[in-house]
Point group: C2
Chain length 126, copies 2
Amino acid sequence: MELVKIYECLCDPTRLRLLNVLAQGPVCVCHFQDVLGEPQVKISKHLAYLRERGLVESERQGNWVIYELAAKPSRELQANLACLQECAQRIPVFKCDLARLKKIEPSCAWVRAGDPGKAPGQCRCG
Amino acid sequence: MELVKIYECLCDPTRLRLLNVLAQGPVCVCHFQDVLGEPQVKISKHLAYLRERGLVESERQGNWVIYELAAKPSRELQANLACLQECAQRIPVFKCDLARLKKIEPSCAWVRAGDPGKAPGQCRCG
DNA sequence: AAATCATATTCTTATAACGGAATATGCTTC
DNA sequence: GAAGCATATTCCGTTATAAGAATATGATTT
């Protein structure tokens, strides 16, 4: 059942945080590390988990990999992501993540702009 | 995180079916067996799982045990159960379960009425 | 109190998940 | 092509989950 696959993705705190951040737009892996404050392996593995199950998509831009929410989510996925968003608004961890994301945001405007030409020679996370 | 606990409850097909049925009102275990067509152990264990995590509550009425959704669900739980309901409407398994429930319903009106005095001497499931 | 019915628990086996350490891959720059 | 950076994968130990078989509990009827 697809619904079960979705819930399996949602039953880990790290993945919830990743999805919450992704709701704001595309993000590259190194920013996740900074925003969540979790080690690289952990982030990478959970992103892979989400990608394999179709919740997110990734695209390589030079040295970096940008992740974003699935472009064509099923009705069920849409509904559940919306529900998560609603819940996350009231939960401190998620709010903190978004706050940290905003601080970093200026330094990675090129990611959001989708303009790979502007990618710097070195990641300026942090 | 409470949200994670909720999603853990939701990431099993049997539990989703149980919750979908429970959205219609209180149900006793033997009816679940009939509606889902699953063995007693399976039903019982999944109900226990949901009870331990606060999604459902149970009450003994003579030989039978009646389950119902938590009386005071958290905001998060409410939101997610509503979301599940919305999704389930479109998924065949869940619709079939509700159809079977309706067929059985007349024989267990006493459960819904909450009138233990009317409990029959023998369960008339099926 | 013995038998019966409805439900719960225990035991076992198989499978999947998480996390961390170490290592590998893929680009880019020099 | 060697070095460096960002990301992914493999390996390992631990823990959680699911399902079925068998058994136990608790209430009711005879």
